[in-house]
């Protein structure tokens, strides 16, 4: 399991937990349960901070290339990035979540949210122990060079052909390789005489791999 980034799962768990905590808080307030004031206030406020600011922007994956960001997370990424090491370090996040979960334990509607946030905190602790860090997903600079501004789409048809010329040598070559162009369609390089420079040997008039 070498390539797992626990922080990714911790992030999903924390986001879900924040929502659950929020729902519990709303139920507590709307139903006017006992103790609703001090628990619900803290919870609604804290879970909002939790969800909106901290957990919504997804971090960048360390190992593989593509990181999928959530819709509209760009602005929050900037906010979260501004806190520097406080948000980058997962030990801090683990501690923060652990502390935020405590007020949830005081009334029944928010107990579930409390336990879920605590679990997220534990997973973040695991991520932190393994040395993971939160990296922001910044918008990519378009670095690929498109050949020529006029070509917007890759060609969908083969290029036009000049008129046929008489074959200079006996028709030898690959059934895939075209004898006149000496272009092996598999390696897309012009093979030197008799052999593809990719090492594809020719035999029986066919490119064999």
């Amino acid at each position: 399991m070498g390539q797992i980034e626990w922080a990714m799962w911790a992030n999903e768990q924390a986001l879900a937990a924040g929502l659950i905590l929020l729902t519990g808080g709303i139920v507590g307030v709307a139903g006017q349960f006992k103790d609703w004031q001090f628990a619900a206030y803290g919870i609604d406020g804290e879970s909002l901070i939790d969800i909106c600011l901290l957990e919504y922007p997804r971090g960048k994956r360390k190992n593989k290339g593509t990181s999928i960001d959530r819709m509209g997370q760009r602005y929050l990424t900037i906010c979260v990035k501004a806190f520097g090491p406080l948000t980058r370090n997962y030990f801090v996040r683990a501690g923060l979540h652990a502390v935020l979960s405590i007020p949830g334990g005081f009334m029944l509607p928010t107990v579930l949210g409390c336990v879920c946030v605590a679990i997220a905190s534990l997973i973040y602790l695991l991520a932190a122990i393994r040395g993971e860090q939160w990296e922001p997903i910044m918008p990519q600079v378009e670095s690929k060079q498109r050949p020529g501004e006029s070509m917007k789409e890759p060609p969908s048809n083969p290029p036009p052909r000049p008129p046929r010329r008489a074959p200079e040598e006996t028709a030898r070559g690959c059934c895939i390789c075209q004898p006149h162009s000496h272009l092996c369609q598999l390696c897309l390089r012009a093979p030197p005489r008799g052999q593809c420079d990719q090492g594809f040997a020719q035999s029986n008039n066919c490119c064999r791999l």
Binding site: A16, L108, C175, Q185, L186, R189
Partner: protein, 566 residues
Amino acid sequence: MGNWVVNEGLSILVILVWLGINIFLFVYYYIVYLDERFYYTRVLVGDALSWARAPAACLNFNCMLILLPVCRNLLSFLRGSCQCCSRNITRQLDRNITFHKLVAYMIAFHTAIHIIAHLFNFERFMDAQLEQNETIAYVLSQIGNEDNSSYLNPIRTNETNPTFVAFTTIAGLSGVASTLALILIITSSMEVIRRSYFEVFWFTHHLFVIFFIGLVIHGVGEIVRGQTASSVLENKPNICATQYKDWGKVPDCPIPQFTGNPPMTWKWVIGPMVLYVFERLVRFWRSKQKVVITKVVTHPSKTLELQMKKKGFKMEVGQYVNLQCPSVSQLEWHPFTLTSAPEEDHFSVHIRIVGDWTQQLFEACGGEKKEFQEAWKLPKMAVDGPFGTASEDVFRYEVVMLVGAGIGVTPFASVLKSVWYRYFNNDTGLIPKKIYFYWLCRETNAFEWFADLLQSLETQMLERGNADFLSYRIYLTGWDEAQAAHFTVHHEEENDPITGLKQKTLYGRPNWENEFKTIAGNHPGARIGVFLCGPEVLAKSLSKQSINHSDADPRGVHFIFNKENF
């Protein structure tokens, strides 16, 4: 114009029936708890009782359903015995994972309603128990203080709080455990986690065992109470409710007796649980069968081919197997498409080396070493399967369009090889009269082994003089400036003078509109199977094209779209 019903109709019907049953159960059980028997319960908690019991019924139904789509062996068995059924029905079995997800969302939804309603119940029961004055709530809560069986209010003392009660009743504790398991399962099943860190998803998903145990014991405490049948006859709520102060003192209104509902969930889920246990046993037994690696081939671009033999192994085209290598990992099973044809004496898979497990497997099979490996040095493998997928249906259509994008070309290796063998054996049972094959890839380097296969096929067909049977196009969608220069300078002939075939390697993406139009024009009135193994975006595009180019007239041409997914 399209005939959307042909392609999607049965799936929509299944979903509507399922939703209909959910709605029916919800409404029915809501009304059940508006009955006279629960009059006094509703005095204490109001509508929250019905709002809690109705989703509970839906939860029973959905938890029964959720285990069924993941019984792979059962589904394969149904598929196999459904050969006589219409293609439409077997196609529904392809969408088992989609259905599993839908049912899971429904379970999450109903769990949320159920929990919120019970939060109100707990709070109101607590309020009733804390009553000081002699209200009906107070009187009702006091019932059953002497004996422990005929009480109404499950909270028996006023020196507690709802949180404490939740964690000290069987229902509360099992509910919390099940819900936690459910939440962990759902967060680790998010697409991001599932696609990148499969192990987290797979291992966490086994928390469903806790979920089901919690579910079954949830009702054991029988804390949802209603009047006993005999008590309703003696103490009629609509008459006696107002005289609560005189219960027991007046002959018309004795003290009401209450009892709980026995647990019902086990009746719903016992069947699927047994089936699932059976499924896992079958998987285990199959994995214990001896599998021998007969040949290991390393292909360029990090592809490993394993040829194996197993006694009694039977496969169809386009199926996949789950492989396990105990020396690499005891617990991990990974799916791979079979790339050999059923007519061969071995079965093979082509494995791309992209992660931990595949890398270790490569090394275990001596991939790094150049010299010949002894057969006994090769690792033991375990194989579960084969499991059927959409490609099995390829031979049931007259005309087929096969589209493989990138690594999605692998199931078609099996199909095409099988076509080759049947051709070789002059198999008249070979139903497809024409195969159109589209191979989309950035570059063919990663799949040279497949290009090799195509060439062999082509030679075969040429020798038979039926070069038109298989028409294939390779589309290279990745290109850069250097290649573009090559294309213009080194043009290719339209017809290869040796083979006489139109072997165009085309650049960029195919124009599906044109392709579908041409094929529809070539085969009017035929049922054309469109098989895709590739990315979602392409699936949507092809699906739309299939619908658009299908005739509304049942005698016209129909494109039936099938998608493989991994």
